[in-house]
């Protein structure tokens, strides 16, 4: 499972609960600010992800640091991530959440992950294909991750299309693991 898949689940839940309470804009603003801060300094994220540290201490820290600065619902969301041991994906969760908010506002941000940089022709092809499929203007975000070996992954607001070599190998591995040995 790629990071975006996990992140999407939590982001979707956050989006649904903030929309229900009319807090989408606040969430977008506050979480984007948090993401910017975390991009600069990841030590807080590291602390929240350390398995050795007691959950209670992490929650205490969250409430002390963000209790006054963020909506209570958002602090509780961070607490859920800590309890589920998913704090290390916080940046990705915020990224997916932002994608959902932007989509809601008519901006279709699509992330494409490739092992090597996309050629401009490939990029143009991809954008036109996606625009045709969704009927929306595409804002393409490009990421290079050699870890996927080859192929590409497209992450849209509502789906992840994984066509990477790493995914293919993972499929083979899963099939091998289904072999009964007893």
């Amino acid at each position: 499972m790629i990071v975006q898949e996990v992140a999407k689940k939590y982001a979707t839940a956050l989006f649904a609960s903030t929309r229900e309470r009319g807090l989408v804009d606040e969430a977008y603003e506050q979480f984007s600010g948090l993401k910017l801060a975390l991009d600069k300094d990841a030590s807080l994220l590291k602390f929240l992800s350390l398995p050795k540290i007691e959950e209670e201490q992490k929650l205490e820290l969250l409430r002390t640091v963000f209790g006054e600065r963020m909506e209570r619902l958002f602090v509780e969301f961070l607490a859920v991530l800590v309890r589920k041991r998913r704090a290390m994906y916080l940046v990705e969760v915020i990224d997916e959440f932002n994608r959902l908010v932007e989509f809601d506002k008519g901006i279709n941000r699509v992330t494409v992950i490739t092992a090597i940089a996309l050629a401009s022709e490939e990029e143009a092809n991809l954008v036109s294909t996606l625009a045709a499929k969704t009927g929306r203007k595409i804002e393409l975000e490009k990421k290079v991750d050699p870890g996927i070996i080859g192929g590409m992954i497209v992450v849209t607001a509502d789906e992840i299309i994984d066509g990477s070599v790493r995914y293919g190998l993972g499929q083979i591995e899963e099939r091998l693991q289904r072999i009964k040995v007893h």
Binding site: A119, E122, A132, I172, Q177, H182
Partner: protein, 160 residues
């Protein structure tokens, strides 16, 4: 001779008086004493006979009780032996069941361990194979292959 006769008569008279006095005052009590003594002796004999009879009765009762106790004891011992036999059988059964259970558990443990080892072996083989495959694939990936894969992905996206 007169003198002698007189003397004799006097003696006789004296004797008669003695006898009379004796009979009048001493004979009765003397005979009574004798009779009393005789009765006492007879009574003692009776007592002895009675006691003997009692002893015999007690002895008989005692023996009867002894026999009874003996019987009871035997019955108790029979009971004890029976109980002992049952207990021994129970202990043996329990031990057998325990051994059987231990055996079953050991068998199950072994089967589980073997199954676990097989799964572990399979997973390790898969892991090694996949690591090798990944390395080979990554090494085989050149620009042409990258472009090919990306192009095919976009084509498939178009068709989907």
């Amino acid at each position: 001779m007169d003198f002698e006769l007189q003397q004799i008569l006097t003696h006789a008279l004296g004797f008669l008086i003695f006898v009379w006095v004796l009979k009048r005052f001493a004979w009765g009590p003397l005979l009574g004493l004798l009779e009393e003594r005789r009765e006492k002796i007879a009574g003692e004999f009776d007592e002895i006979d009675k006691q003997k009879a009692e002893v015999a009765q007690v002895t008989a009762e005692y023996e009867a009780r002894m026999k009874e106790i003996e019987g009871e004891r035997r019955a108790k011992m029979v009971e004890a032996v029976k109980e002992g036999k049952q207990m021994a059988a129970d202990i043996k059964n329990e031990a057998m069941n325990e051994i059987r259970a231990m055996h079953e558990k050991a068998k199950a443990d072994l089967q589980r361990d073997v199954a676990k080892a097989k799964v572990q072996l399979r997973d390790e083989m898969i892991s090694i194979t996949m690591t090798a495959a990944e390395k080979v694939v990554a090494e085989k990936m050149d620009d042409a292959k990258h472009r090919d894969l990306i192009g095919r992905y976009i084509d498939e996206l178009e068709r989907a």
